[in-house]
């Protein structure tokens, strides 16, 4: 019988309409020693207004350098069942689809070997098994991997790629986000499981510029579906939207960032040459508007949270690339990027930080991509720039 802690502060967080994480921990704590001590330590954190977790040391499963995040309590005597309490990252399914069969199996394994606590999902998109002891790591891995599941990435490695729901259940997707994610995950198992990069590397794939997976803010490599072609207009559906109360002038035409639309009360017109494919009109009038022509992706590089040089958003490297299996052009490009990073990156330097440090030219020349105005918001302002000997001979 797990230890029962008094949790007057956390109990306050079982009130209110939103589902309570405290209730979840309590459910697990009722039958699991680790979860019970997690609850007890958390109550203490709420009382003392500080966390009681220490950094992880090197901990993991045999042959892998990642997939497990070591975590130790700084109060091991008070909460012995979480003295070591590591996270296991299970590589989730592209699009976050599951079956009840798998979920139940996973619960059985986790009740047996872990805390019974999970995250669906961690920030990067892993199925997170939240807390178990060092000795349970190998059994957990054996149970999952024997059923066809593998660990995700952690540390200075490729992190678990993720994507939006894409063509599985979205009419806007220009690329097969799930297949791309699956393909690159399979391609680079070694890069994911044996950290050999200067620092972490994340892929996120979005089917369109709506970017439901936040790829442009949260991935070293952001793959965003787009198209080269006109937007086909079904004028009768336009009329339907108007009939149902949409103010097309205000809500659509006036909000178009490139002002490429007009509407005379009857006909909606688009000057496709001026369209920047922001998705606003398509998202609001899906039944009436449909991209046509060639489909592919824009490849952007470099987003990350503030450390060390401040937050960055990914920026355009390749404005348009076809994305068709087996994605060789894309994968070759990525390999070249990694080579560049491997050659020049410092320890704990993200690839975006490296490019900012070395300059776009060195990066683009290394990976073999031409300079293009789509890569910049605007050209440089100060007349301070470099010439190579080759440039001078031109």
């Amino acid at each position: 019988m797990p230890k029962k802690y008094e949790t007057p502060l956390l109990d306050e967080l079982e009130k209110g309409p939103f589902p309570s994480f405290v209730t979840e921990i309590k459910k697990a704590a009722a039958k699991n020693d680790m979860a019970a001590d997690e609850l007890g330590q958390l109550e203490k954190s709420y009382r003392d207004k500080r966390g009681y977790w220490k950094h992880g040391g090197i901990v993991g499963v045999r042959g892998y350098g990642s997939g497990v995040i070591g975590r130790y309590s700084s109060l091991p005597e008070e909460f012995p069942n979480v003295a070591n309490f590591h996270t296991v990252r299970i590589n989730s399914i592209a699009g976050f689809f599951y079956t009840s069969k798998f979920l139940k199996e996973a619960c059985d394994i986790w009740d047996k070997y872990g805390s019974g606590l999970t995250n669906f999902h961690g920030s990067t998109g892993d199925l997170v098994l939240l807390g178990t002891n060092t000795e349970n790591l190998e059994p957990v891995f054996a149970e999952f991997s024997s059923r066809g599941w593998d660990l995700g990435g952690s540390g200075s490695a490729l992190r678990t790629p993720s994507c939006c729901v894409g063509p599985a259940r979205c009419e806007w997707s220009n690329i097969d986000t799930l297949d791309i994610t699956y393909s690159i995950t399979q391609e680079w198992q070694d890069e994911m499981h044996r950290p050999a990069f200067p620092y972490k590397f994340k892929f996120k794939t979005a089917g369109c510029a709506v970017d439901c997976i936040a790829s442009i803010a949260r991935a070293d490599c952001s793959i965003i579906g787009t198209w080269k072609g006109n937007i086909a207009i079904d004028q009768s559906e336009v009329a339907n939207y108007a009939k149902k109360g949409m103010n097309i002038q205000e809500e659509i035409v006036n909000m178009c960032p490139s002002k490429c639309m007009s509407y005379d009360g009857k006909e909606l017109k688009i000057n496709d040459a001026d369209c920047v494919r922001c998705m606003h009109c398509i998202a609001k009038m899906t039944k009436a508007l449909k991209p046509t022509g060639e489909k592919g992706a824009t490849i952007l590089i470099g987003s990350k949270a503030p450390f060390v040089i401040g937050a960055t958003l990914s920026w355009v490297i390749v404005p348009f690339m076809k994305m068709e299996p087996p994605y060789d052009e894309f994968k070759d490009l990525i390999r070249k990027m990694w080579e560049f990073w491997d050659e020049h990156g410092k320890n704990r330097e993200r690839i975006g930080e490296l490019i900012i440090r070395k300059g776009m030219r060195e990066f683009l020349e290394y990976i073999g991509v031409e300079p293009q105005p789509q890569q910049v918001k605007e050209p440089r302002r100060d007349p301070f720039f470099f010439w190579t000997e080759a440039d001078l001979q031109k």
Partner: protein, 356 residues
């Protein structure tokens, strides 16, 4: 009991094996979707096939008991098919329309909170906080809980001018898109860390500790075989602590949270934007951080009252101007709001145009 044979580097299972048949059939061939209610939408394929998604809130941290319950419900109404959204909500994938109402009835009866679809507040993405993170300056799940309680009606029923994406990060490392959210809470420290020099000697790599500092405040202290911190340059980010644990940054008295606003990740209308500082500090006041919820409420109310349809928080603020934002929310503008980090000069107002 013998363990099964482990396998390595197999990667995740193929996604096709987890898709409902109607999705497999209509994969990449959807025509449109419609939001039928705050918690229900239908996707219609070019073939005429339909799939309904019923969304319920989740605290992200789930016990196996709850997962089993979700699995049971999915089996009962969805052929066992279920998915999670990128914002940690649960979606039941209904292929047979006649299961739609019974499913919703059971969800209601079990007190699952349906909603979050369309122009409203969806779930708050967040980090581990005191539950499981070494660098947390506040809890994350607790903040999410009190905020989602506060704004529950914007999840279940009420609309906002456009989606409002919220995030909570328990430190400035910001796992989660705090830096590009409509409204986000990020925990911060406010005191220069203290150094346990004896431990630094054994546990830390001096060069990487120095390199971890965004402002170059850390330098070697050869006498102590340790490092020293220039207090004038330190802005308490805690990155040194992450690479060198004996540099203690936690301070229960002075830790708390900042609120940032106006970020977005989508390209719709305006380009993706960073969130900007709205409130530099609110003290940690667990378990329910009432000052945080009331401050976020102030911002949200101003947005709801003033924004045009389809305007995200950042688009609204850029239209009215930041000076107006501080005016209509009543939030004070402080020295902390003025950037002094690497691109500070790009944020200075190089124009004579502004509002009184």
């Amino acid at each position: 009991m013998a363990l099964p044979q482990r396998r390595t580097d197999i990667g995740p299972p193929h996604y096709k094996d987890f898709l409902p048949p109607v999705i497999q059939k209509n994969y990449g061939d959807w025509k449109y979707h419609e939001v039928l209610s705050p918690g229900v939408m239908v996707h219609v394929a070019n073939s005429g096939d339909k799939i309904w998604s019923v969304r319920v809130a989740s605290p992200r941290l789930l016990s196996t008991d709850t997962i089993r319950d979700l699995a049971d419900i999915a089996e009962k109404y969805c052929g066992g098919y279920i998915r999670w959204t990128t914002r940690n909500n649960v979606e039941f994938l209904v292929s047979d329309e006649k299961n739609l109402e019974p499913l919703q009835n059971e969800l209601k009866q079990k007190k699952y909170m349906m909603g979050g679809i369309g122009s409203r507040i969806s779930n708050i993405v967040h980090t581990q906080g005191w539950i499981h993170c070494h660098s947390a300056a506040s809890d994350a799940s607790g903040l999410v809980k009190v905020l989602m309680d506060e704004f529950a009606d914007y999840f279940t029923t009420k609309e906002t001018p456009n989606k409002v994406r919220m995030a909570v990060a328990c430190c400035v490392n910001m796992c989660g898109a705090v830096h590009c959210s409509d409204i986000a809470v990020v925990a911060v420290h406010r005191k220069v860390p203290t150094i346990d020099h004896d431990k630094v000697k054994n546990m830390c790599e001096v060069p990487s500790t120095i390199a971890a500092c965004p402002t170059g405040a850390i330098s070697p202290d050869p006498a102590k075989k340790s490092v020293k911190i220039n207090a004038d340059k330190c802005m308490y980010c805690g990155n040194c602590f992450t690479v060198c644990p004996p540099i203690e940054i936690h301070d229960p008295e002075y830790d708390g949270v900042a609120i940032v606003v106006g970020g977005k990740v989508g390209n719709l209308r305006s380009n993706p934007k960073f969130s900007k500082l709205a409130v530099p500090f609110i003290k940690n006041n667990p378990p329910r951080w009432p000052e945080v919820t009331s401050t976020v409420r102030k911002i949200l109310d101003a947005y709801v009252a003033d924004a045009k349809k389809h305007e995200r928080v950042g688009e609204w603020i850029e239209r009215i101007g930041w000076e107006k934002f501080f005016k209509v929310t009543g939030l004070p503008f402080t020295f902390q709001h003025i950037d002094d980090f690497v691109i500070a000069r790009e944020t200075f107002r190089t124009a004579a145009t502004f509002k009184w």
